[in-house]
């Protein structure tokens, strides 16, 4: 196994790049190719850790809530299952006719 292959084996075995063993670090100091490989890995991992978490679509919570209400997981103040609200596109519930006074 060449020194570069040993370096790459050490790199594969040490995902936490800052813990790379001294012999491997020494090789990277002397070998431009391996030094670049290490630097690229450090750049990739460093950027990956800083990537912003994307926002879910705004309607996701409404969908979750509707399902929880339908299952009775969400309860009202009296401890009763909260009535499920109709989703978009659902037919409107006809209200009872008002009685005249």
């Amino acid at each position: 196994m060449t020194d570069c292959q040993k370096f790459e084996a050490a790199l594969a075995d040490t995902p936490e790049l800052e813990r790379l063993a001294p012999p491997a670090r020494e090789h990277a100091r002397q070998c431009i190719r391996c030094a670049r490989l290490l630097a690229d890995f450090q750049a990739i991992v460093g950027q990956a850790r800083g990537l912003l978490a994307p926002e879910p679509p705004p309607e996701l919570w409404a969908d979750i809530r509707r399902q929880l209400e339908a299952e009775g997981v969400i309860r009202d103040a009296a401890g009763e299952p909260a009535p499920a609200k109709p989703g978009p596109g659902a037919p409107l519930v006809q209200s009872a006719p008002r009685t005249s006074r």
Partner: protein, 206 residues
Amino acid sequence: MADPISPFHRAPKAEDWTEAEAIAAAQRGGAEAFEWLYQRHKRRVYSLCLRMTGNTAEADDLAQEAFLQLFRKIATFRGESAFSTWLHRLAVNVVLMHLRRKGLPEVSLEETTEPTQEDGPKRDVGGPDMALIGSVDRVNLERAIGRLPPGYRTIFVLHDMEGYEHNEIAQMMNCSIGNSKSQLHKARMRLRDLLQQPQSQGAARP
């Protein structure tokens, strides 16, 4: 927490809740509490689902499923681990189950940590190695992660982005620690290759 029996007890408002209070309220079925927990954790769960699948429609469905499973089981949460850890593991399992149902290959049991010739640094005869130093920007990195093969992407997301250790990944992926390390190394090498390509080349593979 204030004594609920005391006549002077006033339940804290939702905006003043600690996570423990929100969890307790959710265990009693309170809608506001569920939403409080959802808003607090939605980005990390959604991010995990999106980055592991590379597909927004799948991520929407899987994030929804993860939260539904969480809220159905919330009464069983006893606080032995951090709530975020519990939720996160649940989300990872939801995504992994989905990937398995799609028939995507598990990490190969024949992989070893020994680098093969094809994994070694490219040896372009007569040409200098390209280095990325200073040229890894977030947009390109996101794009490159999306182009990784599913197995590589999963391990890269779990280890380098979500911070799981290899022993945890090995357990989740039903592989050895050595395989997990090997796949991560290959994922990083593939990302390096993708990031070295000129921007005009290489349309994203499905």
